[in-house]
Symmetry: C2
Subunit: 380 residues, 2 copies
């Protein structure tokens, strides 16, 4: 079973990856990765994830330790401070203290909320991530970014707070809707493009096996993706520099999500489109060879259906500028320069950005025409 | 002008202490302690503090930098996550980014809220403390504890987030109600008892001068108090051990505040009573010489009128047990063992605690009888 170490300035921990991790271990009374000194455990999950995996986790925890469950309804709209406050009040009512361990059982929404609750309850208690979506396993559960949304924008409040461990059980992905699985895989494509050419080659050769549920192939992809994230986060925990490369595809991707009000596309699908725009930009600047660009495009298109959506170039460019990643007026942009390699640039002009977004939107339109789908009325 | 260095694991900064710090400096365009690279400044304050000191701060900031003001009404009841969320939305609406500097202009309530907003907005931006109460100058502005209350209890959510600097202008204390000033001085008495015998001697000899507004005497007391806090926090930023000594008088003090619903006594007054209980405990254990105990009691009683209140021994003992400082069942207690010296013990029995609380309540009753004041109807 792969164990991937994450060594940041503030904490060192392991990601335990494999199958059957949520099965009661023969002879072992507790979950792999569970810290020895937890006085009690409180699990935060959503009702639908609990239905599939709650009982497995309970059994894996054994009965040597008191366990409570708190619920958050599924959906990004619950990732707000009001949910955080309600959970903190419930922790206090349960008598949770500094020795309590929180466990996040769910996707990125549950992980981000629970991690933030752990970051601020009594100024910080421990938490463990049990990610149950592909996106959460390869991305959100690793690296310690926690937080919630404001009305003004996504992830605008939060903390850096590392988990004590991450337990990524590939079995949990079996109950995940396939569209969610595919969307999460775009983060693996991202990892491959920014830093792991071998992973890229593997995905090119084995994507069909991964999508067909071949667990060895899936494990290979998830492990490599986590290793990319772990290495980047170890080098730059607080996104002072290198960590920005994880935003490849996200500058335009976030603009698409905002323009479509987070309703029409899954995050990974928006990132797929965002990567296509960034690839166009790299190619038209002459820093990315056409052959590499074509292979990237091909893999992105095979990984998910890229749903069409309605937005104008102007709107997307404007939303890109308001992205919180901007620092003092200059927009940092992650440009691909070859398979497994990106560079961070600060000199992307509005004209260049517009051209890249327009090229991407031309492809969106082509899909709409091909599928005969009408453009949604609420042009974003 | 004294400059006190605070050197913690996570940050190094200065407390600038003196008079006239909020006056526009001749020739200087900006406030002492203001970081050079702030792109904009957003001040958080309450309307009443703004009335006295808002214009001074604005002028001291000069006009080389954009300044906005956000308001929080005075009062502990506003120290909640709903205020934090509202302020974060207002920051976003103003376009605040990672280079924005927040300034907390006010007492401990404003400082704790603003510090917490700075801790979580975009996962952490810089903030500067401009404490305008004695309590905030000698205690809450230094050390990086930030946070807000839950319905379930005080300061139950928060972060450790150090300010970039603290600017403690003694002039601001001139507009502070004298009862607030005296209550804040109990924290200086606390600092003297736990770690600074020379400060204790000075306060004994010069308390009348301090209360009469002698600025040299006041500066001496504030400076020494801040040095105690800075030294303790430098040794133990996250309250793993030594920092607990700052809770001297607070274990019972917090219980009194809870029993009286935070309405009847100021924090420093409750701490005064709490210190009296702890002194009784130290004396009856035989670890604190009677002569020292008597000098401590005398100074505490001279520093504030200790208002009477209604609570039973049972209730206070029960509330003491539920204090969040407890860890896994054992109650840490800070016992005075001599002037300038305390020890942290974990073996205080309920009988000992009850006896100490009862002795303190006997004094409360004596005051009530002497002043002819009826006990409040809402016996806590
Ligand atoms: N912290 C980070 O570094 C980071 C990085 C990337 C994304 N994120 C955040 O992650 C969130 C998205 O996470 P997500 O894509 O996992 O979405 P999600 O958490 O909303 O989960 C998607 C859906 O799948 C359901 N689900 C989860 N596990 C399941 C399972 N095993 N079987 C069946 N259904 C299951 C959920 O209930 C939900 O309806 C966003 O809020 C995003 O901001 C955070
Ligand atoms: N973070 C920490 O380490 C720490 C330590 C101790 C206390 N605290 C917190 O501090 C808070 C108490 O702080 P406080 O005692 O300063 O109370 P406060 O902030 O409520 O201020 C007391 C009153 O004085 C007013 N005021 C403030 N400055 C003034 C001035 N210069 N002139 C006239 N009026 C003025 C305020 O508007 C308020 O009405 C509590 O919430 C407590 O939990 C925090
Ligand atoms: Zn992403
Ligand atoms: Zn105090």
């Amino acid at each position: 079973m792969p164990e991937i170490r994450v060594e940041t300035d503030s904490a060192h921990y392991s990601v335990h990856l494999g199958s059957g991790l949520l099965q009661p271990q023969a002879g072992a009374s507790s979950l792999v990765g569970l810290p020895a000194k937890a006085s009690r455990v409180i699990v935060v999950t959503s009702p639908e994830v609990e239905r599939f995996w709650g009982e497995s986790l309970r059994r894996a925890l054994g009965n040597g330790i008191p366990v409570n469950l708190l619920h958050v309804p599924a959906g990004e709209q619950h990732k707000r401070l009001s949910t955080v406050e309600r959970l903190c009040e419930e922790l206090a009512a349960l008598g949770a203290d500094r020795d309590t361990l929180l466990i996040a059982l769910g996707g990125g929404v549950i992980g981000d909320i629970t991690g933030f609750v752990a970051a601020i309850y009594m100024r910080g208690i421990r938490f463990l991530q049990v990610p149950t979506t592909l996106l959460a396993q390869v991305d959100s559960s690793v690296g310690g970014k926690t937080g919630v949304n404001l009305a003004a924008g996504k992830n605008l409040v939060g903390s850096f707070h590392q988990p004590v461990a991450v337990i990524a059980d590939l079995d949990t992905l079996r109950t995940l809707p396939v569209r969610e699985l595919r969307a999460g895989l775009q983060e693996s494509v991202k990892s491959a493009i920014i830093r792991d050419a071998a992973l890229f080659d593997f995905m090119e050769a084995n994507l069909d096996a991964v999508l067909a549920g071949d667990s060895a192939a899936l494990e290979r992809v998830v492990e490599s993706s986590i290793r990319v994230k772990a290495a980047v986060v170890a080098a730059d925990e607080r996104e002072g520099g290198l960590r920005m490369i994880l935003n490849f595809g996200h500058t335009v991707g976030h603009a698409i999500e905002a323009a479509t009000e987070y309703k029409h596309l899954l995050h990974g699908e928006a990132i797929g489109w965002g990567m296509l725009a960034a690839i166009h930009l790299g190619e038209s600047r002459g820093v990315l060879p056409a052959a590499d660009a074509n292979r990237m495009r091909e893999l992105i298109r095979r990984t998910t259906d890229l749903p069409n959506f309605a937005a104008t170039t102007e709107r997307l460019v404007a939303l890109t500028g308001s992205d919180k990643k901007k620092r003092s007026g200059t927009l940092s942009f992650i440009l691909p320069i070859g398979i497994g390699q990106v560079e961070i640039v600060n000199d992307v002009t509005e004209a260049e950005l517009s051209a890249a977004v327009a090229a991407m939107l031309a492809e969106v339109q082509a899909i709409s025409r091909a599928s005969g789908v009408e453009e949604p009325a609420h042009a974003g």
